[in-house]
C-alpha cells in the first residue's frame, strides 16, 4: 500500500521550512512544526506576527491573495498540499475553517449547513447529515424548530456554532479557527470552548487566539509566534500547553504570556 506509513504517523499535519511572502515582505520565516492528530493546537503571539497567515497556509487560502509566494512544505497525512497536482478546493474539503466574525450565508439555517454538502456532491440523506452536524456543533436543540428561518436571526454565538456545523458537515479532518470567540460574550465563548473539547475526539483543531487564557484552557499544544527584527513572523516555541504555561523554555514566550511584552 502506497500510503501505509501515514497510518502509523500520529501527526496529521507537518510543516517543514515554511516561508510566506506578501510581495517583497516576508510574513513567515522558516516555520517547522508537527501537529498531532485529534489534538487542539493553539497559535498565540502579538498582532501581525503571522498567525492568520500561518493558518491560511493549511487550506491554501493564501493562494487567493495576489502577490503571495510560499516555499517549504505542508504535509497533510504525508502528502504535500502544495504539490503541483493538488487541487486547492479538494484540500478545503479536508480542512475546514471558522473565522473571527461569524459569517453565515443569508440563507436559512438548514441551507447554511446543507450548502457545503450539496456543492461537494453529497449523495446521502441531507436532512440527517444536517441534523448530525448541528448536533455535533451543540446547536440542534436551539434551532430544530426554526430550521427554515434565516441564519441571520441567530445570536452571534449561535451563528458561530452554525459556522462550525457548516465546517464539520463536509467531514473535514482538520478545523482551522481564527479567533473564533473574539466577537462573542463569555457564555457563548465557553460554549465554543466546550465544543472544541468535544470536537477534538473526531477532528484536529488549529486555533488562533489572542486570549492566552483561552489558549491555555482549550489546547493541548501551543505554538508561540513573534516578529523578528525585520518584522517577519517566526515560531519561537512549540510544546505541550501545560509546559508552555507553567515553564516556557524561551524568555520571549515567558515575556509574552506573562504580559511583559512591549
Amino acid at each position: 500500500m502506497q500510503n501505509s506509513n501515514y497510518l502509523y504517523n500520529s501527526n496529521i499535519l507537518e510543516v517543514k521550512n515554511l516561508n510566506v511572502w506578501y510581495r517583497a515582505f516576508q510574513a513567515l520565516k522558516e516555520i517547522s512544526l508537527s501537529i498531532p492528530r485529534h489534538h487542539v493546537i493553539a497559535c498565540i503571539g502579538p498582532s501581525g506576527c503571522g498567525k492568520s497567515t500561518f493558518l491560511r497556509c493549511f487550506n491554501r487560502m493564501n493562494d487567493l491573495i495576489p502577490g503571495t509566494r510560499i516555499s517549504g512544505q505542508v504535509l497533510l497525512d504525508g502528502q504535500d498540499i502544495y504539490n503541483s497536482g493538488v487541487d486547492p478546493t479538494e484540500i478545503r474539503t479536508h480542512i475546514g475553517m471558522v473565522f473571527q466574525k461569524p459569517n453565515p450565508f443569508p440563507k436559512s439555517i438548514f441551507d447554511n449547513v446543507a450548502f457545503g454538502l450539496r456543492i461537494n456532491g453529497f449523495k446521502g440523506n441531507i436532512k440527517e447529515a444536517v441534523e448530525s452536524s448541528l448536533r455535533r456543533a451543540a446547536l440542534w436543540d436551539e434551532v430544530k424548530d426554526r430550521l427554515n428561518k434565516s441564519a441571520l436571526t441567530l445570536s452571534g454565538g449561535q451563528q458561530q456554532r452554525l459556522c462550525i456545523a457548516r465546517a464539520i458537515a463536509i467531514q473535514p479532518a482538520v478545523i482551522l479557527m481564527d479567533e473564533p470567540c473574539s466577537a462573542l460574550d463569555p457564555v457563548a465563548t465557553l460554549k465554543i470552548e466546550d465544543l472544541i473539547a468535544i470536537l477534538k475526539e473526531e477532528y484536529t483543531i488549529v486555533i488562533v487566539t489572542h486570549n492566552i487564557q483561552q489558549a491555555a484552557r482549550v489546547s493541548d499544544y501551543t505554538a508561540f509566534f513573534t516578529m523578528a527584527d525585520d518584522r517577519s513572523g517566526i515560531l519561537v516555541e512549540f510544546g505541550k500547553t501545560n509546559e508552555i504555561f507553567s515553564n516556557p523554555k524561551d524568555k520571549r514566550t515567558e515575556d509574552y504570556i506573562t504580559g511583559r511584552f512591549g
Binding site: I212, Q213, I244, F245, S246, N247, P248, E254, T258
Partner: protein, 224 residues
C-alpha cells in the same frame, strides 16, 4: 506603562521578605532566650508570633486575589504558588520558635540551671547553622539566587552529625541521675529536635525558591 499586576507581585514579594525577617528575628530571640535563660525574651517571642500569623493570612489572601483577577502564568504563576507554600513553612518555623520559647520558660522561670559547657557549645553550633540556612533561604528568595538555594541541603546534613554528638555528650553526663538533670536533658533533646525542624523547613523554602526560579519540579520532590 502602568503595570498594576507586576506591581502587585513585587508588593507580595516584599510582604514575604518582611514576614521572613520577622520569623528570622523570632528564631534568633528564641534561641537567645534559651541560651541566656531569659524568660522575658521568650515571652516576647510568643507575643511576636501573632504578627507572623497575621502576615501568613494576609499573604494567602493576596495570592487568592491575584489568582482570581489576573490568572498568572509561567514564572508569575510559579511565584504565587511558591509563595503560598513558603509562607506555610515560615509560619511553621514561627511556631517552632514559640516551642523553644516555651522550653525557656519551663526551664528558667523558677531558677537558673547550669548547662554543661560542651553541650552548650554544640547547641550554639547547631543554632548558628540553622539560622544561617534560614537566612540563606530567605536571601535566595529575595535575590532570586538559585545557586545559593542549591547550597542549603548540604548545610543541613551537618545538623544530623551535631545531633549525634549532642546525644553522646548527654548520655555520658547523665550519670548524675538527678531529677532536675533528667528534666534538663529531656528539654535539651527537644530543643535539638526543634532546631533540626527549623533547618528542614528552611531547606524546603529553598526548594520552593528553586522551583520558582527554574520551573523544574524535581526540586520539590524529596531527596533528589
Amino acid at each position: 506603562m502602568i503595570d498594576t499586576f507586576h506591581e502587585k507581585l513585587e508588593e507580595l514579594k516584599k510582604d514575604v521578605i518582611d514576614m521572613g525577617n520577622l520569623v528570622s528575628n523570632n528564631v534568633e530571640d528564641a534561641i537567645n532566650s534559651i541560651l541566656t535563660g531569659n524568660p522575658e525574651l521568650a515571652r516576647k517571642v510568643i507575643k511576636d508570633d501573632d504578627k507572623i500569623d497575621d502576615y501568613n493570612a494576609m499573604i494567602e489572601e493576596k495570592c487568592m486575589y491575584i489568582l482570581a483577577l489576573y490568572q498568572p502564568v509561567a514564572r508569575d504563576l510559579r511565584l504565587i504558588q511558591s509563595i503560598n507554600i513558603i509562607v506555610i513553612y515560615l509560619e511553621r518555623i514561627g511556631d517552632i520558635s514559640v516551642n523553644i520559647a516555651k522550653l525557656t520558660i519551663r526551664l528558667y522561670e523558677k531558677d537558673k540551671k547550669q548547662l554543661d559547657k560542651d553541650i552548650l557549645e554544640i547547641i550554639i553550633e547547631m543554632s548558628n547553622i540553622v539560622r544561617s540556612i534560614l537566612d540563606k533561604a530567605l536571601k535566595a528568595f529575595s535575590k532570586e539566587d538559585s545557586r545559593l538555594a542549591l547550597k542549603l541541603d548540604q548545610m543541613d546534613s551537618s545538623i544530623t552529625d551535631l545531633q549525634k554528638a549532642l546525644y553522646q555528650k548527654m548520655y555520658k553526663t547523665s550519670v548524675y541521675h538527678s531529677e532536675d538533670y533528667i528534666k534538663l536533658v529531656t528539654n535539651i533533646s527537644l530543643l535539638s529536635r526543634y532546631l533540626e525542624r527549623i533547618g528542614d523547613n528552611s531547606v524546603n523554602i529553598g526548594d520552593r525558591v528553586l522551583y520558582y526560579l527554574t520551573g523544574d519540579f524535581r526540586h520539590i520532590h524529596s531527596d533528589v
